[in-house]
Structure formats: C-alpha cells, structure tokens
Amino acid sequence: MNHDDDPANERLDDPRDAQIYALLRDAYAPPPADVLVAAATAATRTPPSVVWQWWLAAAALLLTVGTWFLLRHDQVQQAKRHDGTELGAMWAAAYQHAVANRDGADGKRFCCDPSLDFCGTCEQRFAVRLGFAGQASVQLRGCYCGLPTGASVAALVDTQHGPVGVFVLSRDQDPGACLPADCSLQLARRELGSLVLYGLADARQPDPSEPLAQFAIAP
C-alpha cells in the first residue's frame, strides 16, 4: 500500500498504524467478486414487487372508471353542446346531403338505412316508441346515417312534394333549433310527449308540418 499520499500519515512510523491496518484488512476483507456479481445477477431476475403491481391495477381501475364516467357525461352533454343555430346548420347540411345522395349512381339508395328500425332506434335513444303511420303519399325512406345530427334521430320521409328530413330530440335536450339566415330551407316543429320533432324541407315545398303529423307515440 502506498502511504506517501496519505495525509493521515503524519507519523508513518507509528507502530499502531501497521497493527490497525493489518487488523482492518483481516476483519473487513470483502467477499470474492463473483459473490457480489451473483447478488447483482439475482437482482436482475427479481420479479416486480407485488406492491407495484397493486398500484398498477389500482391505476388501471381508476382510469377505466374515469373514462367510463367521462364518456357517459359526454353523451349526456352532447346535445347541450350545440345551440339552436348550430343544430339547425347541422341539420340543413345533413338534409342537403341526404337529398343529394338518396339515389346512387347505380340506383341504390345509400344516404339512409332502410333496415334500421326507426321506432326501435327512438326507443333505444329516448325510451319512447315513436311510430310512423305512413300513407300512400308519405313514406319513411329510412334512418339517415350520414353527417352528424347532434343527439337527434334523423330520418328521411318522401312526400309527393319532395323529401322531408325529420329530426327527433328529447324535449329536455332541445335547444330550440333554427336555421341559418341564408338558408333556403324551412323548418317545422312539433312537440309529442317527451319528444320534439323537427321537419326540414325545401322552402318551395309546402309546410313540412304535414309529415310530422304522421308520427305518433306507440303504446
């Protein structure tokens, strides 16, 4: 051992130092390096602690519950996010889209889904069975499934004067829809139980209230 750089050696000839050093080296001899490497190797193979796994499970549960709550809250608030003008603009766009696409190039209708049960959809959304008493001159083409329509259930009805868009809302979610000022459409409104029905048609057609009158709450 080199004691020249040891500031503790102010008396290098002190016989106690040699004794102390020898005793310390004997008593504090570290184990062989491979023993210590084995400790490190064992550490790398240690599974994650159970406490850590519990924290992870708790965090996952919290995330799931939080996501569910936020999604549900978002569904409830979805209609309330739009004011009447916004909702009217959305419906106008949806109506024009539906009219423009009601007959495809190959003759197939693809703006609406005739197989989608309108009555069942309303029951699912509003817990109210909304029926349609179709006459020869007024036919329900199907549920609209194109552009967003807020929280409403949308359908397209064919009349002898042209197509009418029908948008159904729960009354407590109705912001009082109105069309934009420059819109060339007209809007009719009918309250039916806990529901509100809006009819949307071209301004050159008759009042779209007539098709709305065809709807009734089924028992």
């Binding site: 040891d6 102010e10 016989p15 106690r16 050093y21 080296r25 023993v35 490497v37 790398t44």
Partner: protein, 185 residues
C-alpha cells in the same frame, strides 16, 4: 441529458468492478454481518430504478449512492440497537454488548471495534476503503459524494481515533501478535 436503459450485463459487470468497494461501503454503514444483505438489497433497488441512471455518468458512484441511502434507511430501522450513530462515544460501562450492536466483532479487538463504531459512517467508510482496498482518495470522494480533501480529513481523523483507542505504541505487539489484544468473537 439523455438516459438509456441499463442492460443486465452492464449492471452485473458494474458489480464485478465496484462490488468490493460497495461491500466495504455497506460494511461501514451497517457492519460486516449485514453488508452482504445490504449490497443485495441495494442491487435490487438499483435494478428497479435503473431508468433513473443517466447514461454516461459514473455507474459506480450511482450504485454507491444507493448503497449509502439504503444503508441509512437500514440503520434508521435499527436505531435502538446501533451505537455507531451516537453523537458522543459511550462510556465503557454504558456500552452495550457488541452482539447488540447489530455488527459482529469477528476478531477485532474490542477497543478497536468500539472506536470504529463510534466514528461517523463517512469517516469509517473513508478509512476502510483506503486501508483495505487501497483506493485513491479521488475515488473514495466520488463514492461518498464529498470533496477529495474532505475524504482525506475523514480518514486521518478516523485513524487518529483508532490509534487512541489502542494501547500506547510501545506496548503494542506486531500485527500477527494477536494474543496481546483482547478479542471478542
């Protein structure tokens, strides 16, 4: 500063290089009897926290820091039984039996062992690392996270304290003359 994950082979290689100094550091904190357990525990913690290691920095110093912190926690849990952290040396009549110190005395003379235990952990570590492994003070300072001069001062004071604990120089036998010293096993 970028961090890279510490690979298992790099981790074990570090213990091949720094394992013996780490063991001595652990012995300085909790005694020889528990040093191996402390190294094992520190290795486990270090591996779990390997993401916090900064690539390019001194791995030995990082491991030494974990050993020191783990050792400090270890001592806190055993505070009533450890005399090494007493601010003042105990009088001979007040000293607990060595077995209660949590640190086996092996073949050290009682006087030397008690003097060693009454040192602060940093001073004990500085002396042991320098004497047993012949490490330069620059390395010791890095392991203890203190300036090099401070490490030297700790070692010097520790040595003087051990000298005083032993018999006068003229009465002391050679290192191999153990029977002259009172030993406890």
């Amino acid at each position: 500063m970028t961090t890279a994950p510490l690979a298992a082979d790099e981790f074990t290689a570090a213990f091949a290089r720094h394992g013996r100094p780490l063991w001595l550091l652990a012995a300085a904190w909790v005694g020889r009897g528990d040093a191996q357990d402390l190294v094992q525990e520190a290795a486990r913690i270090a591996w779990q926290k390997r993401a916090t290691f900064t690539a390019g920095s001194e791995l030995g110093a990082w491991l030494a820091q974990i050993v020191r912190h783990t050792g400090a926690n270890w001592r806190r849990k055993r505070r009533p039984l450890v005399s090494g952290d007493c601010p003042e040396p105990l009088a001979p009549t007040e000293r607990p039996p060595l077995g209660l110190l949590g640190i086996a005395s092996f073949d050290l003379p009682d006087e030397l062992h008690r003097a060693l235990q009454n040192l602060p952990e940093v001073a004990r570590a500085a002396l042991l690392l320098h004497v047993v492994l012949d490490l330069p003070f620059a390395t010791i300072a890095t392991m203890l996270d203190i300036p090099e001069n401070t490490a030297q001062s700790h070692a010097r004071r520790a040595r003087l304290a051990l000298r005083e604990a032993l018999a006068p120089a003229n009465d002391l036998p050679a290192a191999s003359a153990g029977p002259m010293l009172r030993r406890s096993r």
